[in-house]
């Protein structure tokens, strides 16, 4: 994946949201299937509904800054997803929006800070820690990787690429875990042997964001 020092504009963020929506639509059945194994078979449906709504909001109301786009995505997810993932992803985007403020371009450090703030938002609401078999298991290593990529001077696409790779590994590693949060926790030991749907969607989104950002540069 190539890297570039170019900042991430409002238009880039919108493109990323659009690509994220296409990705969850494309992977809808996979996410439903994962959630069917250890949950209630709706995660793909929830994510598709939420991101479709987000895209339509973002496209109809012109936002001036990356932060404004992220905030609109946040409130749309909150008011259209429901379930556990709605408030959690919603809070993540909300905190990310606050973290970036009203700058008009995001650099690598800003992207890493946004991810970190997003993760803190999920933790604040959901109280999950690493190892609980949730989206945190993708998000937490992603934040670490993003911070270190930003620290070594990478721009947004490099930061996101690092984050995405870490998130993918983190998601894959949820397979062996016993869930301690969310619906899957009711299964006890039987939750092991399946990838967590929320961790998978986190990795999927980050991968898509990284690709879009990389491609557009």
């Amino acid at each position: 994946m190539g890297d570039s020092m170019g900042g991430c504009s409002t238009r880039d963020v919108i493109a990323a949201v659009r690509a994220g929506s296409e990705a969850v639509t494309e992977h809808r059945d996979e996410l439903v299937r994962l959630d069917r194994e250890i949950g209630d078979a709706d995660h793909g449906e929830n994510m598709e509904r939420g991101f479709r709504a987000a895209v339509s909001q973002v496209e109809s109301a012109p936002s001036e800054t990356p932060g404004a786009v992220l905030k609109l995505v946040a409130t749309t997810l909150i008011s259209s997803v429901g379930g556990a993932s709605g408030p959690l992803y919603g809070t993540a985007f909300l905190r990310a929006a606050s973290a970036v403020g009203d700058v008009t371009e995001l650099d690598g450090t800003a992207v890493a800070a946004a991810l970190q703030a997003g993760m803190e938002g999920v933790t604040a609401r959901g109280k999950a820690v690493v190892g609980d078999k949730t989206m945190i298991d993708a998000l937490s290593p992603a934040v670490d990787a993003a911070k270190s990529a930003a620290g070594s001077g990478h721009g947004p696409s490099g930061v996101l690429a690092a984050a995405a790779e870490a998130a993918h590994t983190g998601a894959r590693n949820t397979e062996e875990l016993v869930a301690r949060k969310g619906r899957a926790s009711y299964l006890g030991e039987r939750s092991a042997g399946h990838v967590d749907p929320g961790a998978r969607s986190t990795a999927l989104l980050l991968g898509t964001f990284a690709e879009t950002t990389g491609v557009r540069r």
């Binding site: 449906e45 909150i78 008011s79 429901g82 709605g86 609401r125 959901g126 006890g188």
Partner: protein, 328 residues
């Protein structure tokens, strides 16, 4: 997938339209966001008891909207909690000067979405979280016990208290009291099929049952060979009794619930067994509820719920109620 539906995505909205048509005297339906409201809401100076959650558990919750029970219900998509703005809309339609009591089943999604709505509300809002499912044994390493059958009993009793004019403090105290005295456990003989998923939520052999299931097609804690009604009832009743525990001499309400496709003929049969087993332990059944009240789409199976009564709870239970699903 064998269902009487059009587009899977439209199931809830179309179903609510039919519900509105079916019960014009009892309720009205607001769409976008979807909220089912008592026909005469807001009822002045009465606490508004509001509940909701994913759809697919009918008649829970919308079937319990009406006099003596819920002021409003907030139906989410199938098996998915509604969003905060829908809950806020329900609060807005029903709050009438005496505050709002939110009845929330303990699922991460429900808790988070209702919590957000409560934070944003500008009126007096209290929340009770129902967590009566003894199948979840370990509350530290899980999302905690689920809210299942006990929800109906709580909604009825608190709804009765609100109807009578009890204030928010009192209603909230009653809700907590019911919550602390009610326990449930369920079993599935078949899996439900979520319309948008199109295939059964879990695979169960022809001679298997899934014990300790929730109401969302989540698999249970363990799978066992199918047993006789005696065996099934004992597997549900024993853990329920031992959890609170319910003791000899206790007076209880016994709620025998169908998960959807288990027909009344089997449900009454199971109910009779549960009554006998309780009598053998000296636990006195004073009130009962038997029927499909907290369901999981077309899942075959049942749950048993016990509520330890006291005079006030019994008396409130008996007051008039007039909703699509409960009426006396």
């Amino acid at each position: 997938m064998k269902k009487i539906v059009n587009e899977p995505a439209d199931v809830v909205a179309e179903s609510l339209r039919g519900m509105a048509a079916a019960h014009p005297q009892l309720l009205r339906v607001r769409t976008d966001p979807a909220v089912v409201v008592r026909a005469d809401a807001p009822v002045r100076d009465r606490v508004a008891v509001v509940s909701g959650g994913g759809s697919g558990h009918e008649p829970l919750h919308a079937g319990f909207v009406g006099k003596g029970m819920l002021a409003a219900a907030v139906p989410g998509p199938v098996f998915t909690s509604p969003t905060p703005d829908a809950v806020q809309a329900a609060i807005g339609e029903t709050e009438a000067g005496a505050g709002v009591l939110l009845v929330v089943k303990n699922y991460t999604g429900d808790v988070l979405n209702f919590e957000t709505a409560a934070e944003l509300a500008e009126v007096d809002v209290r929340t009770v979280v129902v967590q009566d499912d003894v199948a979840v044994e370990d509350s530290t390493n899980t999302a905690g016990r689920r809210g299942v059958g006990g929800t109906v009993l709580l909604e009825r009793i608190v709804g009765a208290a609100a109807e009578r004019g009890h204030d928010l403090d009192r209603c909230h105290e009653l809700a907590e009291r019911v919550g602390s005295r009610v326990r449930s456990m369920g079993v599935a003989l078949t899996a439900p099929t979520v319309p948008h998923a199109g295939e059964p939520s879990f695979d169960l052999g022809a001679d298997e049952m899934e014990i300790g299931i929730g109401i969302h097609g989540e698999p249970g804690r363990r799978r066992a060979p199918l047993e006789s009604a005696e065996g099934i009832v004992r597997r549900l009743l024993d853990p329920v009794i031992e959890d609170l525990p319910f003791d000899e001499g206790d007076e209880v309400l016994l709620f025998t619930n169908s998960m959807g496709a288990t027909p009344l003929i089997e449900l009454y049969l199971a109910h009779g067994i549960a009554e006998r087993m309780l009598a053998e332990r000296g636990i006195r059944v004073r009130r009962r509820l038997v029927g499909p009240y907290v369901t999981s789409l077309e899942m075959q199976g049942m749950s048993l719920t016990l509520l330890k009564l006291d005079d006030e709870l019994t008396e409130l239970w008996d007051t008039p109620v007039r909703t699509p699903a409960l009426s006396w």
